[in-house]
């Protein structure tokens, strides 16, 4: 049996490795760009964290760009002066090495950027956000979207599932992701926040909102809500975690008391004589 188990375990390992390798299917560059690049770059919409990529092939040769896209860290670490300049301009935010990137995809992405640069208005121009002050109604709608009481059109989860903020009340929001009270300031205002919400770039959010993207009419109220929170200032310093833990602990103790009250004497009349009475050897 042991030998059979070993053989089949080996086979299962080989099968699993094959599955992982086989999963590296060909990527659509448009979808890849939308999901991976638009949170930091536009094509003709101005600078975000990274530079506007319109006509980038006129500023640097294709071979350099393809190499940089595939492994930005390696090019920066090599001391390349142009890469270091980009790194400084991006406030030392390192462009990630994207999963699934390969020479063929890098070439296709440069082709895409070149083609989009020739258009009068690229589909990757980014969200153009108004400069006018937001209304209290927009802030309220943003709060409802954040909490989840207003459902997202494409079925994405509410921000509240993973993020907390100052002033949410109750036990606060989730703590898988960072506190968003000051995210408006961290992402440098409406434009940066809007670009982020169009295509969130973290590894946890990208797969989620790549499949269920936020709509522009959802992004605007969210920006209003987050801008309002940043203007009010502070951080979520509530003791919600402690409250939650003690709520659970109190509930568990109460449950144990209930178990004891309900079943303390259950079957003991039968069991006690069986376990405490002595049975002589050979009985």
């Amino acid at each position: 049996m042991k030998r059979l188990t070993n053989r089949l375990s080996f086979l299962s390992l080989c099968g699993a490795v094959w599955l992982v390798v086989g999963a590296a299917a060909a990527q659509d560059p448009v979808e890849f760009f939308r999901q991976n690049c638009t949170s930091c770059h536009t094509i003709g919409g101005g600078r975000l964290t990274g530079p506007d990529l319109k006509n980038v092939t006129q500023q640097k040769d294709r071979a350099w760009l393809e190499n940089f896209i595939q492994n930005p860290r390696a090019v920066i670490d090599s001391g390349d002066p142009y890469a270091l300049k980009l790194f400084e301009e991006a406030r030392r935010v390192l462009m990630p090495t994207l999963p699934g990137m390969n020479p063929e995809l890098a070439k296709k992405l440069i082709d895409l950027i070149e083609a989009e640069s020739k258009l009068e208005e690229s589909q990757f121009k980014g969200l153009q956000i108004t400069d006018r002050p937001f209304t209290p109604r927009e802030i309220e709608i943003g709060r409802e979207i954040f909490l989840g009481s207003r459902k997202l059109a494409n079925g994405g989860p509410a921000c509240f599932s993973c993020h907390t903020m100052k002033g949410l009340g109750g036990l606060g929001g989730g703590r898988l992701g960072p506190d968003l009270t000051r995210v408006y300031e961290r992402l440098k205002g409406r434009q940066g926040l809007g670009a982020w919400l169009m295509a969130p770039a973290t590894q946890t959010m990208r797969p989620l909102f790549g499949k269920h993207p936020l709509q522009p009419d959802e992004i605007l109220p969210l920006i209003a809500f987050l801008e309002d929170a940043a203007h009010k200032g502070g951080e979520d310093t509530s003791v919600a975690i402690l409250n939650f833990f003690f709520l659970g602990l109190g509930g568990a103790i109460l449950a144990l008391v209930c178990f004891d009250a309900a079943w303390r004497w259950r079957l003991r009349g039968v069991r006690q004589p069986l376990t405490e009475g002595e049975i002589p050897r050979g009985a």
């Binding site: 375990s9 898988l176 946890t204 509930g251 002589p280």
Partner: protein
């Protein structure tokens, strides 16, 4: 350095390991049932001793059954769960209930392991693999409670991020991108769950596959114990 190690480890832990453990689970479970049918029990846990056993048996089983059901519901009905959680008060009630049952599981597990360690009759029927299993279960329950308290609200983010990953495994097209950036405690909880599943068929935990469910609805049986008169209980050890 950490991210490099993680980029090598993540595919192994979240795309290869699940298939290895499930294959092992099904293979060894079937093999053990066919070859060593009578080993399919949890051996004696001195079930009739009810004073100490109660504090292990009852909280652990009620706790683990409710918590496991919660995980299965989030796996099967993620959209409905997210809809339910769209009101913070409902989310809070669900999460607090899950934490209560998680803590009950921990109390029961600690009580069971302590009793097993202290009572010689039970220690004798506990194998090394059983002790390893208890350690794995302890890590699983503690990491689960840690995640529930320090990374809330799991019922929502499990449905949004972990469920698609688990379905990608079922569809034989593993996509662990949403898991790769999760906190270490969440990764530990997932990997340890795989280890428990993979290790399960070698341990007493196989009893969950042969739960005598008909006991719940069968008619009561009268058991008579014929015992010869023995010495007075006062002198026994």
């Amino acid at each position: 350095m950490v991210s490099t190690a993680s980029s090598y480890l993540d595919p192994l832990l979240f795309a290869v390991l699940p298939y290895v453990v499930f294959f092992t689970f099904f293979l060894v479970t079937i093999q053990r049932y066919r070859m060593r049918t009578f080993s399919y029990s949890s051996l004696s846990s001195q079930f009739l001793e009810n004073r100490r056993h109660f504090w292990g048996l009852v909280p652990f089983h009620y706790g683990i059954l409710v918590v496991l059901t919660g995980h299965v519901v989030a796996f099967l009905f993620p959209r409905e769960l997210l809809l339910f959680n769209s009101r913070p008060i409902r989310l809070y009630i669900l999460e607090a209930s899950a934490l209560i049952f998680g803590l009950l599981t921990l109390v029961g597990l600690v009580a069971s392991v302590a009793r097993r360690f202290e009572v010689s009759k039970i220690r004798k029927v506990t194998s090394v693999s059983d002790w390893v299993l208890f350690a794995l279960l302890l890590v699983q329950v503690v990491s689960g409670i840690y995640v529930a308290v320090f990374h809330p609200w799991g019922s929502s983010w499990f449905a949004a991020s972990v469920t698609p990953y688990l379905w990608s495994l079922v569809k034989m097209n593993p996509d662990f991108t949403s898991i790769a950036a999760m906190p270490l405690s969440v990764k530990l909880h997932i990997v340890n769950a795989y280890l428990v599943i993979g290790f399960m068929p070698f341990t007493r935990l196989v009893h969950v596959l042969v739960v005598p469910n008909p006991y719940l609805w069968r008619r009561p049986q009268v058991v008579r114990w014929y015992r010869r008169p023995g010495p007075s209980p006062a002198g026994k050890s």
